[in-house]
């Protein structure tokens, strides 16, 4: 039942502007449209919504996907390193990884040199899910490329990289 009425999620912000329906419909975001932080946030939410929708068949959240990608890229890494690479606290990574382990997508293998830490690996099932997810992701990236136009991706990644530099 909440079809086109309650689509508040970011849909409201781009109404108005052109046709003034005379009867006080939506208002404009005004000065916010020029603020990097605000526009950045709205874009990020929009993209993540798409990612989540694309991954729905896998029941995989963006954060979980990023862990699978990293494990595929650096198998045997320990929790601290993966967490640090993703900018996640060690404590929060535990819960995140627990879920992947419970689903049988990844496993903790006791590290040989250090009895404190684990070496993390994808399971066979995890490899499969990662492959499927990556395929879906690639499709999505292509859709984004269409939106961004020629050269858009490169320019955007470069600019975002500059913003992400801390300091």
């Amino acid at each position: 039942m909440s079809s086109n009425v309650d689509k508040t999620t970011a849909a409201g912000a781009m109404a108005a502007a052109t046709a003034k329906d005379a009867r006080s419909p939506a208002i404009e975001i005004g000065p916010l449209a020029g603020m990097i932080g605000y526009v950045l946030r709205r874009a990020q939410l929009a993209v993540f919504d798409d990612v989540i929708a694309n991954f729905s068949e896998l029941d995989l959240r963006p954060a979980e996907y990023s862990v699978l990608v990293l494990l595929g890229h650096a198998p045997g890494a320990k929790q601290s390193d993966v967490a640090a690479a993703l900018g996640i606290q060690r404590a929060n990574f535990v819960v995140l990884f627990d879920r992947l382990e419970r689903r049988g997508l990844a496993r903790r293998s006791s590290a040989p040199n250090d009895r404190r830490s684990y070496a993390l690996y994808l399971t066979d099932e995890g490899e499969k899910v990662l492959a499927r997810a990556t395929s879906l992701e690639s499709q999505h990236e292509r859709v984004l490329d269409e939106k961004l136009g020629p050269g858009g991706r490169e320019r955007l990644l470069e600019l975002l990289g500059k913003l992400a530099e801390r300091g």
Copy 2:
């Protein structure tokens, strides 16, 4: 305590790459560096962290600031409209606005034509806080401009705008 050791928040991701310290330090984010969604998220978190730090003297969150801006831009708007413009659910806007009202920064004035709705306004104190916050924001935007380089802001806002378009 927890000074430069636990700066996991996004700091970890850009280590390595150049100097291989031989002893398994941080790992790279690998394929994630080419995914719009991931880079977008990291950049957004970095920028928001700065905004929050800049607003610390005002104890003002980004979402609250956006409400003040909109009220300064469209005084007398009703809750539904402001919420829709910001892409926030009506229900969640209530809590958000409650806090601003309790702090004496904004007020609900009974709308003349509709006994269901309120006309929202900034208080004098709210105007002051908005002015100060906007000043701080402008400074921050200038810092971002330095990071982005000449023409960077315009290019970035355009690209982000394309991503934020739903559909």
